[in-house]
Symmetry: C2
Subunit: 252 residues, 2 copies
Amino acid sequence: MTSDALPRTRLFVDAPLAAGAAVPLSDVQAHHLRGVLRLAPGEGLRLFNPRDGEWLARLDALAKSGGAAAVERQLRRPLPAPDLWLCFAPVKKDAIDAVVEKGTELGAAVLQPVFTRFTDVQRVNLDRLRAHAVGAAEQCERLDVPEVRDPVRLDALLAAWPAGRRLLVCAEAGAARPIAEAAVEARGPAGLLVGPEGGFDAAELDLLRRHEFVRPVGLGPRILRADTAAIAALAVWQMLAGDGRDRPPHRL
Amino acid sequence: MTSDALPRTRLFVDAPLAAGAAVPLSDVQAHHLRGVLRLAPGEGLRLFNPRDGEWLARLDALAKSGGAAAVERQLRRPLPAPDLWLCFAPVKKDAIDAVVEKGTELGAAVLQPVFTRFTDVQRVNLDRLRAHAVGAAEQCERLDVPEVRDPVRLDALLAAWPAGRRLLVCAEAGAARPIAEAAVEARGPAGLLVGPEGGFDAAELDLLRRHEFVRPVGLGPRILRADTAAIAALAVWQMLAGDGRDRPPHRL
């Protein structure tokens, strides 16, 4: 089935997906389908989650308080996503929204806000970021939604860092390998860390370098905004060490 | 001299830069220095252009209508930037601003808006985009400002495409090589082309494939927004075929 024949509407649902299943839709989903997309019962849509993959379904009922869809058949099997965490210092609203939206499109498994010394932003609206991640996952044809974690301080992130996972730290100052070289070697579980606009302070850089899983990496000769750095690093990692060689399904 | 000791203010000026030169500042620059940055005569700043590199200067005069700076000494020699054109279908305001801002940070030499069949946006505010490019170049420590060209139609772009320059076309559908492979081979003059949200139509894809300089490339299995695709493609090209191995000056 090509993309032309597929329903454009694509929703993430937590419920199990299987042929014949009736899946409840949330109030927010029902409102979006009715009020924004103007769908009516009987119309097709796609439902997905990381356990069951993507399924063709049909709208069954649509009321003010929720709705339901009838699951018909599987379109895509579940497929594990690359195991990449994107850790980033929170930035102002538009920029953090861009990091979450584009981080989702570029396939981060985990989005981890990290407070550092020069981080300007003191509060993170997790509900808004989580809603953005769901919306971006629905649009970009992922089978999962990245986990937007509660913010942590840099020292706590490093203290709890799992064994066997490399952390590529985007560093504007000091010695660093080009990210393209480091990404090729970092196959396997990995994380990227992007600091705030002001960079990391000297004590943070020292702390980072004391951990054997840390690899300082460079993104070229220009000073990138924090959101640009996060998107660029993620793109390079996916293309070299992640799933960047794969092609979009439904488009071949 | 490390970045701590350098004036943070950095302005692009078209005038020749040499020791002892007096450089006129525009009304817009004077307004920004006075009203936004609160600078006064005597304070330091950096001036740059691609012919003369980056110079330390001192504010000489600052009036309502313009000002002047006295050039002291060279901080960086001119350095040719990678010869990469970013061609992109115009998208809505925030997204096209992001393409210009991040395209500048990631070192595109030329930003070329291209009208295609599924391009939603009919008008491009070139003055706004050119101002964004200057602002981003000043922030990101480039020595030049990318040339934001007048929009052209896709057929005109291809008809006038220069000999010896490859064009990597980001393609969601059909056969395409992973961009990381194509970028490594495309050293030398290159262009990237990113279509609108709706992609290229079948006739456009045919037209593209008839040109020997065209290389369809893939950006992985997810469907990216147009601005995400432009930023991701540019980042990957720079890291593999451009200047991504270099480090920021003034930060070592």
